[in-house]
Symmetry: C2
Subunit: 449 residues, 2 copies
């Protein structure tokens, strides 16, 4: 990795106190690479390197830093430095930072903000986590419908400096209701004399402040947007969301689903930076809960002791039956959970999903059972009874698994529980219980034990 190389290089320059070389290195590298180095340096060196940055680049680098490094730098800042940083950060980055700060630091930071910035930040802090409001920014380009293209371009060239994206401009009514959207592309392609009102797009895709950020991702990917206006309950424009933030949200949401689906409480940081104790805390509760469910399955097995003492062979089919059930269920639940996340499946589709999964499980179950029938029949002295019991149970388990695997996430969605919690680990435990009962019941009936 380049990263290790960068850190060594900078460390050496810092040790030599070679100011000129440090400035040159900072000039040559991307803010993200500089931030990666500062994240890894010891605190004092990090502060020295950060102070060597030109002011404009410092804000950029700061916004790429991990929260830990941001807080540690911030605590060494003078009052003026805190104020400048707050004013220069885009609102969404400033809010992200403040949400992570310890309470005493928050107080100091908010006191140092200008009244206007403080009001904006306080306003943001009211939006629910993971809502469109919490990821929007208020720095956007505002145009008037009666401007000409030439005037609009001049306006953007003069006032666009501190806007997070200048590539989409918004036109509102005097009551701040959104009236039109204009991409800078279309603005530049138009003639100077044309009016904004005549070239703006009036079919507007927008989100509401309370929309889930996952829904925002779908709007961007469905409509190939690079920015999305956000409106409040009264349909007034209050901010925009830009696509670079959306890519991060999309990755974050997928990571959270991966974690939930593996029975892990989602955490913020990357794997290598999350402490062992934090990881234990994220993994232990679900393992304990599932272990207790596993114990209950043990009780079910114990109820059939007479059966497996009469025919000890029966026990040896249990791993194959429960394993196949677990895997078949995981397939269905994963397809449905992902489909729900991507808004490709809705709760109202449940009957169609059920019908699909029933047909899939019947085909898959019958083929697997046939393979097993032949295998058991010839391995265990052509015992028709046992072969039949195992095969019928297998078909039953696969159907049960696929129905549970597909229906439980939909049910979760309906009752506003995250569908991702209805994934393999839980499905497996539920299907194991059903599978054991099914297998031994069929055994008792067909083998008369």
């Amino acid at each position: 990795m380049d990263e290790m190389h960068y850190i060594e290089e900078v460390n050496e320059l810092l040790n030599k106190k070679d100011r000129k070389a440090i400035s040159a290195w900072l000039f040559d590298h991307h803010p993200n690479d500089i931030a990666t180095v500062i994240d890894e340096l010891e605190m004092q060196k990090a502060a020295v390197l950060f102070r060597a940055l030109p002011k404009a680049k410092a804000v950029d680098v700061f916004s790429y830093l991990e929260t830990e490094a941001q807080i540690s730098l911030l605590q060494g800042f003078t009052d003026e430095e805190v104020t400048r940083m707050l004013e220069d950060l885009y609102t969404d980055d400033a809010v992200d930072l403040i949400e992570e700060l310890p309470a005493n630091v928050v107080t100091r930071v908010l006191e140092l903000a200008t009244p206007q910035t403080r009001a904006t930040i306080n306003n943001y802090l009211k939006y629910p986590e993971d809502s469109a409001g919490s990821i929007m920014t208020t720095e956007y380009i505002h145009l008037r419908a009666d401007m000409t293209v030439g005037e609009a371009i001049a306006y953007i060239r003069t006032y666009g400096h501190n806007k997070e994206t200048i590539y989409t401009a918004y036109i509102t009514t005097p009551h701040r209701r959104l009236k039109g959207v204009l991409s800078v592309r279309n603005l530049l392609m138009a003639k100077n004399e044309e009016f904004i009102a005549d070239i703006m797009e009036e079919t507007i895709i927008s989100a509401s402040t309370t929309d889930d950020q996952e829904h925002v991702v779908h709007l961007f990917s469905d409509y190939d947007l690079i920015a999305l206006p956000v409106v409040d309950g009264e349909d007034r424009l209050v901010g925009i969301i830009t696509i670079d933030d959306v890519l991060d949200v999309s990755e974050e949401e997928a990571t959270e689903d991966f974690e939930r689906m593996a029975a892990i409480t989602p955490s913020e940081g990357p794997y290598m930076k999350t402490s062992v104790l934090e990881q234990v805390k994220n993994r232990f509760p679900w393992l304990l809960f599932l272990m207790i469910s596993g114990i209950l399955n043990g009780f079910i097995l114990a109820r059939y002791e007479h059966a497996y003492l009469a025919i000890p062979l029966l026990v040896t089919f249990v791993p194959m039956l429960t394993g196949t059930g677990g895997n078949a269920g995981a397939q269905s639940s994963t397809m449905v959970i992902r489909g729900l996340s991507l808004e490709e499946i809705q709760f109202s589709d449940w009957l169609q999903v059920l019908w699909r999964e029933l047909r899939i499980s019947l085909i898959v179950g019958v083929v697997l059972a046939s393979v097993n029938f032949v295998r058991v029949y010839f391995t265990y002295g052509r015992n028709l009874g046992i072969s039949l019991v195992v095969s019928l149970s297998l078909i039953g388990v696969v159907i049960l698994a696929k129905v549970m695997g597909s229906m439980l996430p939909l049910l979760a969605k309906k009752i506003h529980v995250d569908p991702a919690t209805m994934a393999a680990p839980l499905i497996t435990t539920v299907v194991d219980a059903g599978g054991l009962i099914l297998f031994f019941t069929i055994s008792e009936i067909l083998l008369q034990i």
Copy 2:
């Protein structure tokens, strides 16, 4: 959903043959929404609706259509219509389409393309699937270093019409080597008299045509890009990738990982549009393979028949032990697979990962085992031997599961197998086998059976 509503609305207009209302509806709606309707309409009506579109919007709508609808429309096109569509589509969209077309249609389409477009498309078709080359486009803005800002803006306003993004411009040497990058934002913020050479960014983040598209996603998310230049083996600029395509790639790659991790062969289409037989084909092979592994675990269990006939109670601990092992392993493998996908973990980190997982599994294992010890001790008449056997086995299984779960994906990465195949289903089967052997071996030793 709006979608159903749109389809009914359009169907009614089409039945009434109300041309005026159809035109108005097409004018009012976003190309993506129109495409969704065309995807769902019967073929003839779809063609009528498509032909009612103004030419410029038709290309946009076409690029949003599902492949099936694209092919069916294309087959009804006149030669001129095919040629125009090919020339108007962005190269990446045209290539995507051609990759999906039946062979005979490809021949016709390529014959109808202009020689230049044909050459470009043929060139694209050489790039490996899922490489940066396969998702780039060749329509980008090229500026000269000796242009002034005023000249550059005028150039973009004149020639920017058919470029996929005008928001980043590229400056190259006479040998087409990439020399600088300039965002239109910085261009607009500069003074008319300044020279491009003085304001362009020379620290350039770029990808190579053969880079994996997943790596491209990380470059966009790490450096907050909106476009990325792609260079060939000789460092010459050959195309760009735009962020709207990257968001789709990111979702696609995550979906593929979800599917692989649930033992499903990744498929192209969304769940509701993939036929039952296709789904069976994607799910069956892994289920069969894992079932056979499950059968092998049955043989392991059979080897210890004497043990569980001597103490039938032992069998009832199996679901809890294998279940907990499977879940503990799934947690570790998911964290490592996702970390590898996001490039947060490298193969070279394996020793650190191992050391983390060992500590996590020891803590988790000991706590779970303690809970179990108390439970077993008091449930089964204070039997110290069995309590100890179950608890020790549980610690062993959790450690085994977390080590296997974290190391197998890293090993897969090393030998160029997709780490996502080393997920819960396979890990569970492997850990089940190890867990059974461990449990019965400890039983045999401590309980002297």
